[in-house]
């Protein structure tokens, strides 16, 4: 197999990739109706971002 070019993502891009993929997967696995899935995905994504950025800011004073 031909080698794939290395993927370089910032911390935020990797975090966003994780949050989007997991939110969509959880939405489809956890809900059946399309409307419920969309609501679940958006809410889950919002919480991922809120908690991730919140924890990042909370750790900032101890980062150096």
């Amino acid at each position: 197999m031909t080698p794939v070019p290395p993927l370089e993502l910032t911390h935020f891009q990797a975090f966003l990739l994780f949050a989007v993929v997991i939110s969509v997967a959880f939405g489809f696995l956890g809900r059946r109706r399309p409307k419920d899935r969309v609501k679940y995905i958006l809410w889950s994504l919002f919480l991922f971002l809120l908690v991730g950025i919140g924890v990042g800011w909370a750790m900032f004073p101890f980062s150096r």
């Binding site: 080698p3 794939v4 993927l7 990797a14 990739l17 993929v21 969509v24 997967a25």
Partner: protein
């Protein structure tokens, strides 16, 4: 001290439903769907004609594996040095057939000396755990306990 009473309060509590003694008819089928879902992400749902879930699981696990391996994350092998390596191996094996895909595309080996490689390791483990969750969901769905 008095011994607790051994007499049941109600005879009906001793009655065991006959359905508990024998395995459910679709149990082996449900196990087969769960294993199929583990081996190829989404296959457990596809066999039950849950096409949307099958596609989402396939592409979600595939994307995480591709991203993790191309970021030069650590694809753990059976020869782990410590418990964390073993746990990582178990998580990576959760991706089923995609584990071989990850090994195939990560031709330069892992590089966790940079942040990208560390993120990649996490994405690979996430893919494995997500696929195990999806396989368990396929198993439960086959047993009639779907969400």
């Amino acid at each position: 001290m008095n011994e607790p009473s051994q007499i049941p309060a109600n005879d009906a509590t001793q009655a065991t439903p006959s359905t508990n003694a024998a395995p459910a008819p679709g149990e082996s089928r449900a196990v087969a769907f769960g294993i199929a879902g583990w081996l190829l992400p989404g296959l457990g749902h596809a066999l039950q004609r849950m096409w949307g879930r099958a596609l989402v699981v396939f592409f979600a696990v595939g994307l995480l594996v591709y991203a993790g391996a191309s970021m030069r994350g650590n694809v753990f092998t059976r020869q782990g040095a410590d418990a964390f390596d073993t746990l990582g191996y178990i998580a990576d094996m959760g991706t089923g057939g995609f584990y071989l895909f990850a090994r195939a595309i990560e031709t330069k080996g892992a590089d966790v000396s940079h942040a990208d490689g560390d993120y990649g390791t996490r994405l690979l483990a996430t893919a494995g755990v997500l696929n195990l969750l999806a396989a368990l969901h396929a198993y439960e769905a086959a047993r009639g306990h779907k969400a």
